[in-house]
Subunit: 188 residues, 2 copies
């Protein structure tokens, strides 16, 4: 791995573990093994490097969701596969955790990949739920966009509950509760 | 407000805005107007003061939830009132945000109020959902504990989505989606 790559990957890890406010240029240099001069050769500063790291984490989150969304099964089965896919629930979401960072939220450039990723996710889930409704898999009374928002929230909130409890199964319980609500027999 | 009180309230605000990692003793002294000597007269250090602040925030979160849980209406109406009650969605949850703080999660003493608050909330919601099920308000096929976990996750994840979007209505959309799933006609 070249230095630029090591800097990005180290920043991704640190942002995930400690957030933007808790990640110093010195910590990035220490973890990546790159010197200060090298860091400022490749990036203009911490915001620039953080943006590269966040953009990559956001892309990975999309790719991994997209793999579930385009996998086998009906639309509802693919939504379920997305919710249930293996996650390190105690680590939390590398993109969602950035919403708790005041310095990220206050900077429109840094906030953009976070905002876009969740907008994309909500849109993608709503599309699949609309498909499920057309196929008679999902109750026609349910609004795809609002239901999609609820499911995206369950994932993000599931991480919060898992970390609060110190147990990954708190994430699984939230997801199973949501799927119970989503897939129970239609009321029509 | 006396100095001890000002220190606790200032720490609560800073923890809410910037988290534990992002809150320095100096920032607490600056916001509270208390000197260093005064701070260490009342508290042994940042962890001790943070614990007092977190314990109070956790108690307020319980009190405000309990007000909805014991309000008017059926069990399901009280759960809905809890989800819909007025919140500053863009500020996020003062207790939930602490789960993103590595130094809080790594310290069993600091993590305790966070863990206990969410355990209490899940238990309380599960009790109300069990009551709703007994009264025929809720589908008998739904598991109260898993459904409660899903609803608690929707609240926490709703904050994440609202902050990501920079719009409080993203919280409302997630809650309405969850209530749509919860209150649609029973399938039996």
């Amino acid at each position: 791995m070249d230095t630029r790559e090591r800097l990005i990957e180290s920043t991704r890890e640190l942002l995930w573990e400690r957030g933007y406010v808790g990640t110093s240029p010195k910590a990035i240099q220490h973890r990546s093994g790159a010197g200060q001069g090298s860091m400022y050769h490749h990036f203009t500063g911490k915001p620039d490097l953080a943006l590269a790291a966040m953009t990559r984490s956001a892309q990975e989150m999309r790719d991994s969701a997209e793999a579930a969304f385009t996998g086998p099964g009906t639309a509802l089965q693919r939504v379920s596969a997305y919710l249930r896919r293996e996650r390190d629930a105690l680590k939390g979401c590398p993109v969602g955790r950035l919403t708790q960072d005041p310095d990220v939220m206050a900077d429109p450039v840094l906030r953009k990949p976070v905002e876009e990723t969740f907008a994309w996710l909500a849109d993608r889930l709503a599309g699949l739920l609309a498909e499920a409704r057309e196929d008679g898999e999902l109750d026609a009374a349910l609004d795809p966009a609002a239901t999609a928002a609820a499911l995206a929230a369950v994932v993000q909130g599931g991480y919060v509950l898992a970390r609060a409890a110190g147990r990954p199964d708190a994430y699984a319980a939230a997801v199973e509760g949501a799927l119970g609500l989503l897939t129970r027999p239609k009321g029509d």
